[in-house]
């Protein structure tokens, strides 16, 4: 069974976020930041976060970098969905997004809080591209855990 990338992967939402990414900027004095690198395709991201303590609420999150449409759209959608979330909520999203892109979570059947992020539900049919969508999430997690550099290899 072959899967058509035009209908399953390059949906309008992804094309739009690639073209006009949200939060594509640097936060002047971030509380957390990390660099993510995918050596296989050369995707390179920098994630910045401003976390307000106590409470651990993400007040601002942004990214910069260079990569394919999938990685850019994923970072854009991630930053949009993380704003205002607590660390705990972020962990839930991270976990659900991970299961989504591995094909283990079906957004139409399984309860979830993914919202717009479920646009990536077809990506598991394209195994070589899963890392493109997950790079920003791993980098964000690394930033929160104070890891400076994250790679997908």
């Amino acid at each position: 069974m072959s899967h058509d990338s035009r209908s399953e992967l390059y949906q309008q939402v992804i094309i739009e976020h690639n073209k006009n990414p949200k939060n594509f900027r640097k936060i002047p004095s971030p509380t957390h930041e990390a660099e993510g690198y995918n050596p296989l395709c050369g995707d390179h991201l920098h994630i910045y976060l401003h976390v307000k303590e106590p409470g651990g609420v993400i007040e601002d999150v942004s990214f910069e970098g260079d990569g394919c449409a999938i990685s850019k759209a994923s970072a854009s959608l991630m930053t949009a969905s993380l704003k205002g979330k607590t660390r705990q909520e972020t962990e839930v999203l991270f976990d659900q997004f991970h299961r989504l892109i591995k094909g283990e979570l079906r957004p139409d059947k399984d309860p979830n809080v993914l919202g717009k992020l479920s646009v990536f539900s077809g990506i598991w049919h394209f195994p070589a591209r899963v890392k493109c969508a997950s790079l920003c999430w791993h980098t964000m997690k690394g930033a929160l855990e104070k890891v400076k550099t994250v790679t997908t290899e």
């Binding site: 094309i15 296989l40 395709c41 050369g42 990569g67 394919c68």
Partner: protein
């Protein structure tokens, strides 16, 4: 003397598969080539009728396998026009061949301050072994730059080549740019300075006739799988005088004459460098691949591929904004390109929908990508079994990519 492409395509079973319900267009020949049926049959014949180890038994099957294995060595010798079959060492591939020279020659002959000269367009496999050697031996790595067409800057090569240069390790044909380097001229110049020369012929071997005596290189490396043969087998050619002086690379069976716990004496060439059971089936397959290629002939292969290169270079200009990476005067049918605003991996995935296989990424030549200031490129690498109709399909697919990414 045009090639009957449709007849030739019948020799390659893998050309006739479907991807996404469309006939496959295979434009990733620089990564690996397809194998003609005769290669598959030669390997199958060994596994079905005379499986056995080589150089060991006196039984019928072992003798038959040894004869086939050594017969393949003879074919490689003739193919490269080496003086002697013992100058042909079977390895796992180009990478291992280069590492053999780095470890066996480099480790024992290079001293701190000695220079190894490579170029900016080397595959990582002709960069990293020398960097590892640099760490260990304190030798110096120098790099010949190329211009924006992807041609080596010869005057820079002449400046970098000095009495300190002990080894010039140079790619014959670039995998990411398609450039054919003037290796013969460079070899002569390097010999004039007393340096040895290793030629990385991984990409050259399927496209150009190679004569090691005419080139006068000291070492030459290639892989079977880029010559329509199987993966897992490669060749290191070396001048016998040099190979005799070099210590073994790996220790084990077949590379010894006698072993006691006090002392081991090594076998003679080429066995000194072939420790352990070799890839017997693959070597036999490589021999069959050489027979096949020679039956077509490099004159015809070259003419056919140049036709594809010219057609492809023109056809790709129909795609708005497309920029070719690598426009050397002397090049093979490698069409690397970027589409501004579209990442190579998105191009790769989208053209795959149309049944087209191209390589996207850095092609194991990150310095080449850095030269052009791009993280990645797309590459269509063609072989004589490809057609202009297939190029048209790539152009159509790229126009569709432009629709997705206007």
């Amino acid at each position: 003397m045009d090639l009957d492409i449709q007849r030739i395509r019948q020799d390659f079973p893998n050309l006739h598969v479907s991807v996404h319900g469309k006939p496959l267009v295979y434009f990733d020949n620089a990564a690996t080539t397809f194998k003609p049926r005769v290669v598959l049959e030669a390997m199958d014949g060994y596994y079905q009728k005379y499986t056995s180890n080589v150089h060991r038994g006196v039984h019928e099957l072992s003798e038959k396998a040894t004869a086939a294995y050594e017969g393949a060595r003879g074919k490689v010798q003739k193919f490269l026009n080496a003086r002697d079959a013992k100058e042909i060492i079977f390895t796992r591939g180009t990478t291992e061949s280069i590492n053999l020279v780095a470890y066996s020659y480099g480790r024992h002959s290079l001293k701190p301050g000695d220079e190894v000269l490579i170029s900016e367009m080397e595959h990582h496999s002709n960069i990293v072994p020398w960097q590892m050697l640099r760490e260990e031996k304190g030798c110096v790595l120098k790099v010949i730059p190329f211009n924006d067409q992807g041609e080596l800057i010869y005057s820079e090569f002449e400046k970098l080549l000095t009495a300190k240069t002990k080894l010039l390790s140079i790619v014959y044909i670039s995998n990411s740019l398609g450039t054919i380097n003037p290796v013969q001229k460079m070899i002569k110049a390097a010999h004039g300075r007393g340096a040895l020369i290793l030629v990385d012929a991984a990409q050259a071997v399927g496209h150009r006739r190679i004569d090691v005596q005419d080139l006068d290189c000291d070492f030459l490396a290639f892989s079977g799988h880029k010559l329509f043969g199987p993966t897992g087998v490669g060749v290191l050619y070396g001048k016998a005088g040099l190979l005799n002086k070099m210590p073994p690379f790996h220790g084990g069976g077949d590379m010894i004459s006698s072993v006691t716990f006090e002392k081991t004496t090594y076998n003679t060439l080429p066995y000194k460098f072939e420790a352990g059971t070799p890839a017997v089936a693959e070597v036999i397959g490589l021999g069959a691949a050489i027979d096949y290629v020679l039956s077509i002939g490099f004159d015809r292969i070259e003419a056919c591929e140049q036709g594809l290169l010219e057609y492809g270079t023109r056809a790709l200009q129909k795609v708005p904004g497309l920029r070719l990476i690598g426009t050397a005067k002397e090049k093979v049918a490698v069409l690397s390109f970027i589409l501004p605003g579209v990442h190579a991996h998105d191009i790769g995935t989208l053209v795959n929908d149309e049944g087209i296989a191209i390589r996207t990424g850095h092609h194991c030549t990150q310095p080449v990508m850095q030269h052009f200031g791009v993280p990645a490129s797309s590459r269509a690498s063609l072989s004589f079994y490809n057609t202009t109709a297939e190029i048209d399909r790539l152009v159509e697919a790229l126009l569709k990519v432009r629709e997705v990414f206007p």
